[in-house]
Point group: C2
Chain length 446, copies 2
Amino acid sequence: MSKSDTLNSAPITEAITSFATGSLDEGRSEPALRMTRISLFDWLAVSIAGQDEPVSRIVRDYVSAEGGVTEATVVGTAQKLPARAAAMANGTISHALDYDDTHFAYLGHPSVAVFPASFALAQKTGASGKMFLEASLVGMEAATRIGTWLGRHHHFVGFHSTATAGAFGAALASSRLLGLDVRGAENALGLVATRASGLRAQFGTMGKPFHAGMAASNGVEAALLAHAGFVSRPDALEADQGFAITHAAEMRDPGEILDGLGKSWMFEGVLHKFHACCHGAHASLEALIEARDRLSIVPDEVASVSLSVPPRYLKVCNILEPQTGLEAKFSYRLCSAMVLAGRDTAALTTYSDAACRAPDLVALRDRVVVKGVDGLAETQATARITTNDGRSVEITHDIDRMGGLALREQKIKAKAQALLGEDSASDLWNAVKTAEPASLDEWLRG
Amino acid sequence: MSKSDTLNSAPITEAITSFATGSLDEGRSEPALRMTRISLFDWLAVSIAGQDEPVSRIVRDYVSAEGGVTEATVVGTAQKLPARAAAMANGTISHALDYDDTHFAYLGHPSVAVFPASFALAQKTGASGKMFLEASLVGMEAATRIGTWLGRHHHFVGFHSTATAGAFGAALASSRLLGLDVRGAENALGLVATRASGLRAQFGTMGKPFHAGMAASNGVEAALLAHAGFVSRPDALEADQGFAITHAAEMRDPGEILDGLGKSWMFEGVLHKFHACCHGAHASLEALIEARDRLSIVPDEVASVSLSVPPRYLKVCNILEPQTGLEAKFSYRLCSAMVLAGRDTAALTTYSDAACRAPDLVALRDRVVVKGVDGLAETQATARITTNDGRSVEITHDIDRMGGLALREQKIKAKAQALLGEDSASDLWNAVKTAEPASLDEWLRG
């Protein structure tokens, strides 16, 4: 089967492997690389913070027990392991808290699938920080575009886009770091198409974070095998009976998905979590913070709060009277009370069983009313605060429009401070500037 | 989520994990265990014969380069590796020749997905030959029943049942060897449901044999993680948005699939290949052998041969004038010529470029006519030989009705002789009787 036979009808494979293995336009990619650094910083912070979660321990112990060549860092241990194994553990660990970044275009988490792969292979190949960052960006851009092509239907039918689209991104980031040519990257992409998997049925179990580890390790494996001469069906993403058609993909016009590839970056639309609770509550908390600050009030001055949210979230994060720390993360009312009381909603420890019973929070919680309003985007919410003396302010916030990179950096630093402490966050930020794998290694090992 | 919440509507998961972790009825399982030994012998022979294929070398080198704890044998090397890695390599190697067994009820290859998992974990856990055989039988029975439940639609839509159903079987064989209880086996089954994958689009590439390695290693991994306390969605095979519904499964009445579980064995319907060519040609070759022997003729006496075959195979294995050894495997006419000329169609070396040009074979080939006939099952064919002196015999053969276990053993020994030589085949058969992993290890390592 010759290349031209198989790829004539595989425009996405053709364009995206060429993009992933080619040189980047320095000028046009600079803002995207700056966003990649922000995501890297975020990924490192949530990985370090999540390293002792039960699923993190189980998967780390599993790969540690297998052992093998000492190529790549595993978060939370000084023992290095084969790149594939490290990617599996680090993907799982970094998604354990579900506090990592999200891209709403494909409803996937790009960083936790791609960085574990690119970081492990950067270590294995001795890549520079620049090469590591560029490969990561390329992989996350590929995951975002392929994920968008697979579409929301793919996700809502039951596939977990983080795992599926993420595996393709991880394979291409890995291909780039291994120096594969287009033909090699096609073989990696074709191979990962038969390996990518992950079901939303696992949500709420350890399976969900493990999906990120699967995606990352599948990508590393596919690229290493392609590098060794493995021949797969190169167009298996797009072929008849290929991944897309068998996995309920929407498969819009490839032209739409490929538009501007290499010149503009869909990845730049990535969103970061600045509150350690359900992403569905974030827009309302941002609106509430702005209303609170505009009114310049203390908790006792609040008479009532009204939140307007997208109706589908009422089933997701509207536990009215949460009793546990976990339930608190899915409670618009208690999270709002935390914001009004000035608690640090970025810190994991804020969401405790005790917080659910704290008299000041309960009193504020009971003044909050939540209603579903049609027409709000899933990144939007409105908060209205009315004070005891009759003043009121109403703010609508869209987390998809959060301002420039400088504001994003400022907020991500505050998040890292909440997770790691002020000094560590500041030192880690400096390490991320050059992103040299050897420096990052020191942060991640136990 | 409590067990009763999740498993009320997961009858297959409930029954099959209970079966897989429970004790076997010795009397009722004896014939099935005898068939398991035949398949083990076949699996060992095709693994040894396939160890130097390009895909075998690539995947073996890949896992060897990773290294790790020395738990399990990898075919073709004295270096032992972690059980998961050995399962991946051995699955791939044993399917490299596509000469292993097939179960037509689910169109999958049971041995290459299950034995690599059960053998690796038998070595890791120090299991006896009896425990190894029982776990293998249980895994292959589970793969067969789950594969039949997924159905032909699942396969024809584009999923490779060897990889998908095989992973479930491998997970349950592995669970048994690790001594998991029902809850543990449910977690393994649930986890492998989110990990199982494999697309028929890979047929004709190295991806196909790799699927067997994926299935086997996915099963080992899922069971090891479940053993370590990993919590998955236990009913992910059957759940809403679970594996079956998202993978085009037919999902017939579970009662049909579970009927007789633990008492009768669907696995006993497994078929072995006795010719190193496309399975589609086997029934016609068996019919032709019987007709040839009945007439007791030499090649020069053959005036004409007429084969009647299922029409769908005309697109699969009817290359009229093959030019290469690979094409010869997909040529009814040349394979028939080999049978008439007394060539050993079980030997790999018979299918050579030279055979395609051999004057005696070409002369016989040109006397063979092939026609598609509606109503033949895919395991059936008819061969009619007419001699120069006007005699003729017509035989219809169904490879699904090949007689008892004794005949199967006799034919499998002949196959192993063709692959390994007479002495080796005889010694290997003795090793298979007890199936002690330590003895089998000596056969498989390089």
